[in-house]
């Protein structure tokens, strides 16, 4: 019996999996090799500057030390206490700017979310002209930021802008042409402009998300007697939950850090009502040439964003796990 099987055993060479040592080691090296450029660039532009920024928040980096910034004296937490001291204009202005930014972010993210959702749902069914609206609604997202914000700046001019022309001259809703870019109205202006730019992103994300919902779900729910509102609540919203989670966080971070909108809209003389925090920190650093305090403010901003993001992720992930359990 065994003599019959024995020849087979000896003729088949023993199978050694992956018996090619040189290739194997190269294969291990390969991913590191091709990821290296990305790592180097991230280090140069993100990681090292961030570490430097962190260090800068602990040193006295006023204009006297800018030229030899590596020798700036260590001052511990002094920059932080200057930044948050509410008895001084610096602290009060930072607090004002923070509160303005919180209100700005809540309004811009919330309304962009609503407009984006409304547009995506309105364009969900095929109808004549759908492509035209879809294209039109994406234009604000594609326009370079400065081009659209400069146009808004012109529209909001007190004497020559279209906004006052419509509200005061044509509709008569307001008396006496108000200023939109200085004073308290500046807040309304920057919110509207930011929404104009931001909502198409929500629309785009929702459109992408809606494409992945199978039509059968709507048909099945219609058979069960669900109306459009009910379908939206019980099919669309739950199916869009993953899109929503990512998108809300990303929009929150973008809007909270928005520098470009106030910078182009207001120029360098931003009104207190439109003093968004990134712009405020930029001015605090470059106008008073105190980069130590400016860095301390940046680090505080980063810690705040980090805390909000972690809490948000904790709750969304926690909810997801609970649902799966």
């Amino acid at each position: 019996m065994s003599s019959l099987t024995a020849p087979e055993d000896t003729t088949t060479p023993p199978k050694v999996p992956d018996a090619r040592p040189p290739r194997r080691s190269r294969r291990h090296l390969f991913p590191y090799l091709i990821i290296a450029p990305a790592v180097l660039l991230e280090l140069l532009i993100h990681i090292i500057p961030m570490a430097t920024g962190f260090w800068m928040s602990f040193v006295e980096l006023t204009k006297f030390f800018i030229r030899r910034w590596l020798e700036a004296p260590f001052v511990g937490l002094e920059n932080y206490s200057i930044a948050i001291d509410l008895n001084t204009p610096v602290g009060q202005e930072l607090l004002n700017s923070f509160l303005v930014t919180v209100a700005f972010t809540a309004l811009v993210v919330g309304l962009s979310w609503g407009l984006g959702m409304a547009a995506a749902v309105a364009l969900q069914r095929p109808f004549r002209g759908r492509g035209v609206f879809r294209t039109l609604f994406l234009i604000p997202y594609a326009l370079p930021l400065y081009a659209s914000v400069i146009t808004w700046n012109f529209m909001l001019q007190r004497d020559t802008g279209v906004i006052n022309h419509v509200l005061v001259d044509q509709l008569g809703i307001l008396d006496g042409a108000p200023f939109w870019l200085i004073g308290d109205n500046a807040f309304v202006s920057v919110v509207v402009v930011a929404i104009w730019r931001m909502w198409p992103f929500a629309f785009l994300m929702f459109m992408a998300g809606l494409q992945s919902i199978p039509g059968e779900l709507y048909e099945a729910s219609a058979i069960d007697g669900a109306g459009p509102m009910r379908q939206w609540r019980s099919v669309t919203l739950p199916m869009l939950a993953p899109v929503n989670q990512t998108m809300l966080l990303v929009m929150f971070l973008w809007v909270f850090n928005d520098f470009n909108t106030p910078y182009v809209l207001f120029g360098s003389a931003q009104p207190p009502a439109g003093d968004l925090i990134s712009f405020h920190i930029y001015n605090a650093s470059f106008l008073s040439w105190d980069f130590g305090v400016g860095s301390a403010m940046s680090v505080l901003l980063l810690l705040f964003l980090l805390a909000v993001s972690l809490v948000y992720l904790y709750f969304t992930q926690w909810k997801k796990e609970k649902r799966n359990a």
Binding site: P31, I150, M155, T160, P228, L253, Y263, S298, S309
Partner: protein, 279 residues
């Protein structure tokens, strides 16, 4: 499934409202760019008293727009190409290999998205200055410095999106390539890249738009010679006058290529978002 009347009313209202909101600035931009300056300064009017293309001619000499345009084009194209190349390689590694540091790399890359740009700006400026004095490589005020900066702005998003895309390409395709004796780079170029083309195009568009529209770093890291459009457009306002018709003509002119490119590729972009973000 029929559409109810309520849905039709909802749709009509939403479309009218949003169309007015979106179209108003576009209308103002286009019509104002065709008005004489006197017309603009006389107060807003819905229609130009005379249609003139003079602003489109004058805008080149009021401000060195051609130079800014070239600067923007060079910086943006270089940043886009490099960003796509670097992101493709990194995403390929992350998608196809389980190596040490893979998780931390992705976490780091994604979390850099949340950092306020203003936190990087000054350190980066000082680091660039130091690199210049220590190694003699000028970065501040040069196009190279701006290219490197913009390159990394789009990198996190590009890597994130491409990993999602590559993950969706079946590994059987790679293995078939290996059986045929193809090396890793050949597999990337011949199998992965063609299959992921919509994702790559989407990432390229994103990188282009990010760099073309950036203001903050361009305002600090450029000099008169290397200034980009984003910063240069602000020079149409002098102390006595703002040449609104020319500003808006220039804004319109620099927007058209980007908007046209985006709209042509929008299907790819949505598909890319679906693969990268929606999953």
């Amino acid at each position: 499934m029929r559409e109810t009347t309520g849905e039709k009313i909802f749709r009509t209202l939403v479309l009218i409202g949003l169309t007015l909101f979106v179209a108003l600035p576009l209308y103002v931009m286009i019509t104002t760019s065709m008005k004489p300056l006197g017309d603009v300064q006389a107060g807003f009017s819905w229609f130009p008293s005379t249609i003139t293309f003079q602003p489109f001619i004058e805008m080149w000499s009021t401000v060195p727009l051609a130079r800014y345009f070239m600067n923007s084009l060079i910086v943006t194209l270089a940043a886009t190409l490099l960003s796509v190349a670097v992101a493709t390689l990194a995403a390929y590694a992350v998608s196809r290999w389980r190596f040490h540091g893979r998780g931390p790399f992705m976490t780091t890359v994604l979390s850099t998205q949340m950092f306020p740009g203003v936190l990087f700006l000054l350190p980066l400026y000082l680091i660039f200055v130091n690199i210049d004095t220590m190694f003699g490589v000028p970065l501040v005020g040069t196009r190279i410095g701006l290219i490197i900066t913009y390159l990394t702005f789009s990198l996190p998003f590009a890597i994130w999106m491409l990993v999602g895309y590559f993950d969706g390409i079946p590994r059987e395709l790679d293995q078939a390539g290996k059986v045929d004796g193809a090396g890793n780079l050949t597999i990337l170029l011949r199998i992965i890249l063609p299959a992921a083309r919509p994702g790559i195009v989407a990432v390229a568009i994103y990188a282009f738009m990010t760099a073309w529209g950036e203001v903050l770093f361009a305002s600090v890291l450029t000099t008169e010679d290397t200034r980009t459009l984003a910063v240069g457009l602000q020079q149409y306002s002098t102390q006595t006058n703002v040449y609104w018709n020319q500003v808006l003509a220039a804004s319109l002119a620099v927007s058209i290529p980007v908007v046209a490119g985006f709209l042509m590729m929008q299907k790819n972009f949505v598909a890319g978002l679906t693969a990268g973000a929606v999953k």
